[in-house]
């Protein structure tokens, strides 16, 4: 096997494939990246760790068919460091030789016959713009749990009803919901899938940079079993095993009636929360007191350092004192993607809803909602 390819094209493809390689592989071959030159002068790079698979296909300048397995991490480091010249890869017995300009590397190969075959792509279900998808996933994944001992909370739930996709994630302290439209293969397509949150976010981000459309493929419909989701875009495809579709019945938890509403300029609100939070230790609250046209932000207490700041606010409804984990509040404010942050309250111990306070025009109102549970202060 041999091929010649542009350095930038190769480096980008190798880097993308290497993302899915396991840091601590359960079997040595899983640390490998599989390179295959097909008859049609194409190079296929793939990686797999039994959970996530990734595959990129490139057009080659020239090549002889064949297949080889080399250390993915090492190949990624090498291609990143190569000079901007065409790269030649030649497999010679148990060695693969990478030559680029004056640099030459000899890599050991791994037994390609031991490498597991990648899962086949499930049937395609529909398409969505990669940039829209990436930003929607990022908005929701922020609320997904990071605690691996509670795997069902680390997922992003994707509910598809015709041309509407609803993404939701929660770590029990906040809940992010985003609705977007897509082009389903069939107009009555309907399913629910739980996707590992971090993998989905990484995948969406990586595909988002292509600017093309993402094709989503699904092999499970809500029930139990080995479900799988696949994403294809611009010569790249990746699959991920699904989690159990267990998720809180969150719709009933989203309040629909509010006693107060506050609109604040997102930028200055974020700055003020960050400032007062300097005296708040991890998991301690920032307290917000809304009174007419202003909000008093406070953190710290009693025998500790304290901070206070007052901001003007466009406020309607009953005065309210409410406290939040500042990290949760800031992550929500970072996700709303709007110049105006709107907070809707019911009571100090009921969830508050954060949305972008933009005028009701595009995409209908509130396509993104970030629910945040308050911190109850001891009386």
């Amino acid at each position: 096997m041999m091929f010649r390819v542009d350095r930038d094209v190769l480096a980008e493809a190798v880097a993308w494939t290497a993302r899915s390689l396991p840091a601590r592989p359960s079997v040595p071959v899983l640390a490998g990246m599989r390179l295959e030159v097909t008859g049609e002068q194409r190079l296929k790079l793939s990686g797999f760790d039994y959970e996530v698979s990734a595959e990129v296909t490139l057009e080659l300048q020239s090549g002889e068919p064949g297949v080889v397995l080399v250390s993915g991490k090492l190949l990624a480091e090498i291609t990143r460091a190569l000079p901007a010249q065409p790269v030649d890869v030649v497999v010679d017995g148990a060695k693969a030789v990478v030559t680029c300009g004056s640099a030459r590397f000899t890599l050991l190969t791994m037994p390609v016959e031991d490498y597991p075959s990648l899962p086949t792509m499930p049937p395609a279900a529909g398409r969505v713009g990669s940039d829209v998808f990436a930003s929607a996933v990022a908005q929701v994944a922020v609320a997904a749990g990071k605690d691996e001992t509670l795997p069902m909370l680390t997922g992003v739930r994707m509910e598809i009803e015709g041309d509407t996709v609803t993404l939701a994630a929660t770590d029990r302290y906040r809940l992010a919901v985003r609705e977007l439209t897509w082009q389903p293969g069939q107009s009555d397509f309907s399913t629910i899938a739980m996707i590992p949150g971090r993998t989905l976010n990484d995948t969406a981000k990586a595909l988002g940079s292509t600017g093309a459309e993402v094709e989503i493929a699904l092999s499970s419909t809500g029930g139990k079993g080995e479900g799988m989701i696949g994403f294809t875009s611009a010569g790249r495809r990746t699959t991920t095993r699904l989690l159990d579709p267990e998720f809180p019945k969150y719709r009933s938890l989203l309040p629909t009636e509010f006693s107060a509403r506050a609109d604040l300029p997102t930028g200055s609100f974020v700055e003020a929360v960050k400032r007062v939070a300097l005296v708040a230790e991890r998991n301690t609250p920032v307290r917000l007191a809304f009174r007419g046209g202003e909000v008093v932000l406070e953190a710290g207490s009693g025998d500790e350092a304290q901070a206070v700041e007052v901001l003007p606010v466009d406020f309607e409804g009953d005065d309210i004192n409410i406290a939040f984990n500042h990290q949760f509040l800031l992550e929500g404010l970072g996700a709303i993607d709007s110049d105006v942050a709107r907070l809707n309250f019911t009571t100090a111990t009921k969830p508050a809803i954060l949305t972008g306070g933009k005028p009701v025009d595009n995409d209908g109102p509130e396509d993104y909602r970030y629910l945040i549970m308050p911190i109850r202060l001891s009386s």
Binding site: P248, N283, S378
Partner: protein, 414 residues
């Protein structure tokens, strides 16, 4: 209250009338405290050997009157052994509430002499009376006053050691027990210490003692003559340096008033070893309830939950986990304890003892709670606070978790 209280002997470097200049530290130790408190309710037992402790096969002696001690009974001794040594003793099961009530009263009495009171157990405390000299009198005068008032107001006796440092004061009170007073003059410390057996030093347990015996060190005087470098080599840097200092009476630790509880725990030795996880979890629940009630009573919350699991062969493991927020809720402590037990991999192993402990305590005031999605305003904590109220009104056991009602002893792996 330690195994060392049976060790007798040692020289008396002073007495009640010795020079107490520069000796502001008092160690007050109640004499056979639990037993003495029990005798208040049972005066007819005065003069007879009385032992306080659970009577079961695995009970241990918590306290014994001096009449019982004459037979060789001492605290921490297995009850079976104690009964063999002193068959005529009256055994009284402990009622801790009664002791802590008397203890609180006595600690308050100490507070009226000096704010520098450091309780180290329910029946002993250090006092620093250096500030009370002008107002009340010299340390020995205060010590005598404390002894009189404890006797008159609480009907129990105590022994007081007066010295220039905490550890010498503690040794002094031990030397003058029961119902005594001993002043170790500041310039008589070495003279007082050196004839004492080395096991009496604070921090010398059985292991250290046998290490020292191997080196031919029997008395504190022997210890003092060993070069510190040798001690450090034999016992480790910290322990070696510590003992070398103690041997010359050097102890810089101040009396720290109101040492807050660092942890609250409860443990249970099973009547016979248990391997049924169901029974063990039920015990963890009972202990969690007890620990949580004590946390709430003291106004504490803690973030770290630990469990202690002792196998039949006495090998013991402890596992702990730090929670997201501090808690005083039995349900949370229990859930964590069960997780820790499950993760310890001792499911079908026979256990002799289990314990639950909450560490990293802080006052409940100012502690906030991150609400969870769908969490009700009134949760487990409120339910347990209501149970506390019922218990205060109707007594222990008024409200208990359903699984602890009528424990099924037939399941206790007999």
């Amino acid at each position: 209250m330690s195994r060392k209280q049976v060790i007798q002997g040692g020289a008396r470097g002073g007495g009640p009338r010795a020079d107490d200049t520069g000796c502001p530290i008092l160690h007050v130790d109640m004499d056979a405290f639990f037993a003495a408190v029990e005798l208040l309710d049972r005066p007819e037992l005065r003069g007879r050997p009385v032992i306080v402790g659970a009577a079961g096969a695995r009970g241990v002696v918590l306290s014994a009157t001096y009449e019982a001690r004459r037979f060789g009974v001492h605290s921490a001794m297995p009850m079976t052994r104690a009964r063999r040594l002193c068959p005529s003793a009256v055994v009284i099961p402990p009622s801790h509430g009664k002791y802590s009530q008397v203890s609180r009263g006595i600690m308050e009495l100490f507070q009226s002499f000096t704010p520098l009171v450091e309780p180290i157990a329910s029946d002993e405390a250090f006092l620093d009376v250096s500030g009370a000299g002008r107002l009340i009198g010299s340390p020995a005068v205060i010590a005598e006053l404390i002894r009189r008032r404890v006797r008159e107001e609480f009907g129990v006796t105590c022994s007081v050691g007066v010295a220039s440092s905490k550890f010498v004061a503690k040794l002094a009170s031990r030397q003058c027990k029961p119902d005594g007073l001993l002043v170790v003059p500041a310039d008589g410390v070495v003279e007082f210490l050196h004839p004492l057996p080395v096991a009496m030093l604070w921090g010398v347990g059985e292991r250290t003692e046998s290490a020292l015996t191997r080196l031919g060190i029997k008395t504190v005087g022997d210890l003092a003559r060993v070069p510190p470098a040798t001690l450090k080599r034999e016992l480790g840097q910290a322990a070696g340096a510590h003992l070398a200092a103690l041997a010359w009476g050097r102890d810089e630790r101040p009396v720290t008033p109101h040492t807050p509880d660092k942890s609250i725990g409860a443990e249970e030795t099973f009547a016979s070893d248990v391997h049924d996880p169901e029974v063990i979890r039920r015990e963890l629940l009972r202990l969690s309830e007890r620990v949580a009630a004590r946390l709430r009573e003291g106004g504490h919350v803690g973030r770290t939950v630990s469990v202690k699991l002792r196998r039949s062969d006495f090998t013991t493991i402890t596992r702990s986990r730090t929670l997201r927020e501090p808690t005083d809720v039995a349900a949370e402590i229990y859930a964590t304890a069960c997780d820790l037990f499950a993760a310890a991999g001792l499911q079908r192993v026979r256990l002799r003892l289990v314990g639950v402990r909450v560490e990293g305590l802080r006052p409940v005031e100012g502690v906030s709670h991150q609400l969870k999605l769908g969490e009700r305003d009134l949760g487990r904590r409120e339910a347990e606070l209501a149970a506390d109220k019922a218990v205060r009104r109707f007594g222990p056991g008024a409200v208990v978790p359903a699984s602890l009602v009528r424990p099924r002893f037939d399941e206790m792996d007999l």
